[in-house]
């Protein structure tokens, strides 16, 4: 509503300092706040959403669920390797750890927040390691090794994962997700470094660090949600 009000303003009728001018002392530069990185993060997450939505749409169209002619009739589901569930658990646990870190950072305990953040980061790393194992195991299936969870496609069709569209999509999409997780780990490490250096006596430094932890947690929640949606896609098709 505020947006609509802002966009229907007749700007020529209202000369003056303007409704959105802050009431802070007008002329001092030091009184204002720094940029809020959260807005940048939100815009970035929008881009990431589009990226995964497009890949998922391509997945569904290639599968043949699209009203057009797409889909070659060669689609065989990849099945549900148990590692998939374990990795999902790790990712969710990492999210929880980030929220714990956020709680402590807000409570003004940067050192303990740092410990929780490190735990979250470790869980995130474990997720990536789990994904690597999963990709290797799947590749093994397609190379002919028998394993309980090997997808139906892998038996008797020695074309490798590249020849199987469902597997190729799985590698593509989960790989892209993994890269985003790695990026998140870098941000998490930087935030951890900031927490370690924070002067516990300075309120501004503490609030700033808490905000950084909050953005980390937000990114992590988002990537966990993306993963859940992707899981839904993989498991239901």
């Amino acid at each position: 509503m505020r947006l609509i009000a802002a966009l229907t303003e007749k700007p020529w009728l209202t000369p003056g300092p303007g409704p959105s001018a802050p009431s802070a002392p007008a002329e001092s530069e030091s009184a204002a706040r720094p940029w809020d990185k959260g807005v940048g993060l939100t815009v970035f997450l929008l881009v990431v959403t589009l990226l995964f939505t497009l890949m998922s749409s391509a997945y569904v169209m290639r599968m043949g669920g699209h009203a057009g002619h797409a889909g070659g009739g060669d689609w065989r589901p990849i099945g549900e390797p148990p590692l998939l569930w374990l990795n999902t658990g790790l990712l969710a646990a990492a999210s929880l750890a980030f929220h714990a870190a956020l709680g402590r950072a807000r409570a003004g305990r940067p050192r303990r927040a740092g410990a929780a953040l490190a735990l979250g980061g470790a869980l995130g790393l474990a997720f990536v390691a789990g994904q690597l194992l999963l990709w290797r195991a799947l590749a093994g299936c397609f190379a002919g090794e028998a394993a309980a969870f090997c997808p139906a496609a892998a038996h008797g069709i020695p074309r490798g994962w590249a020849g199987d569209p469902a597997a190729a999509f799985f590698y593509l999409i989960s790989g892209a997700h993994g890269l985003h997780i790695l990026g998140g780990l870098v941000a998490c490490a930087l935030t951890g470094g900031r927490l370690a250096r924070v002067d516990p006596g300075s309120l501004a430094a503490r609030t700033g660090a808490a905000r950084a932890v909050q953005l980390c947690a937000r990114y992590w929640d988002f990537m966990a949600l993306v993963w859940l949606a992707l899981m839904g896609l993989f498991v239901s098709t």
């Binding site: 007749k10 020529w12 002619h69 070659g72």
Partner: protein, 292 residues
């Protein structure tokens, strides 16, 4: 000053160019007059807008050019005027969209009595297939393509035996009969385009596409490829010959069917035969299938 004159002259030049240039649509040779109608309606509405808006622009530039002492009028907006302009624009848009959509509806609705003919594309030539006496095209796919079977005919499909195969870039069509042209590509995207027919559709590997039309004027027309398909794109040509039913049938009778082609190849190779011929069902099966 000069710019106002230039704009007015450009409008005039555009109209003259339209009237005097020798380049306009080829004479139509199919039933797609409705497409031409939609095009002409669109052209008329757009031409009116083009002339009107630009002459208004030229007049404004001349009338309100800067002269010492001039001051612009202050008017932030005029909601009434903007609403009226929006309304009339919408009317104009609807006026051209309606014939466009009607023609498109016709274009995508194939009449039930249309004869089926297949055009296949590969870099950089055309091939054509007629369903033969049974009126049904046999199944075909890229997986069956080899040197002996350029159309990728399914050797196990009895419907394919009497299909007439033409490898010479020349398509014959009977005059005045609706025809559904089924399109298949063996390698990359192509597009079957005959300017005189107005119709056009891409050939997409992996799927079968189609369009339909009724040739209404006998003669020979050029087929162009209208979707970039590699270095030979500009040389991927063919001819379509529209002729009366008798001439068409005579021509069709002279072409080889898939069955004849197989038999001939078998003869040439002696008793060994090709794997393809051995896998084929006995001739009786084809005759029986043809009778259905």
């Amino acid at each position: 000053m000069h710019i106002a004159l230039a704009i007015a002259l450009l409008v005039l030049a555009s109209i003259l160019f339209h009237a005097l240039s020798p380049w306009w649509q080829t004479p139509i040779a199919s039933n797609w007059g409705s497409i031409d109608t939609a095009l002409h309606v669109t052209l008329l509405i757009c031409a009116l807008a083009f002339v009107g808006l630009n002459l208004f622009l030229a007049y404004t530039l001349w009338k309100y050019r800067h002269r010492p002492g001039n001051r612009a009028h202050y008017e932030p907006e005029n909601a009434r005027l903007e609403k009226r302009l929006t309304f009339w624009t919408a009317i104009g848009i609807a006026g051209m969209l309606a014939p466009g959509l009607i023609a498109w509806h016709e274009y995508v609705t194939v009449p039930a009595d249309a004869a089926v003919i297949e055009a296949t594309g590969q870099q950089w030539q055309w091939g054509f297939r007629y369903p033969g006496r049974d009126g049904v095209l046999g199944t075909a796919a890229v997986e069956h393509v080899d040197a002996d079977n350029p159309f990728g005919m399914n050797p196990r499909d009895p419907y394919g035996r009497d299909d007439v195969l033409v490898e010479t870039n020349e398509l014959h069509l009977p005059l005045g009969k609706p025809v559904k042209v089924v399109l298949r590509s063996k390698d990359v995207l192509h597009d079957f385009y005959v300017p005189h027919f107005r119709a056009k559709m891409d050939l997409v590997p992996g799927i079968v596409t189609y369009f339909w039309m009724t040739p209404t004027k006998s003669g020979s027309y050029e087929i162009l490829c209208a979707e970039l398909c590699g270095v030979g794109h500009h040389q991927m040509r063919g001819n379509v010959i529209v002729e009366d039913q008798r001439a068409y049938e005579t021509w069709l009778g002279e072409q080889m069917t898939f069955g004849q082609m197989l038999a001939e190849r078998e003869q040439q190779r002696g008793a060994g035969g090709t794997q393809l011929a051995r896998a084929a069902p006995p001739a009786g099966a084809a005759a029986k299938a043809g009778g259905r």
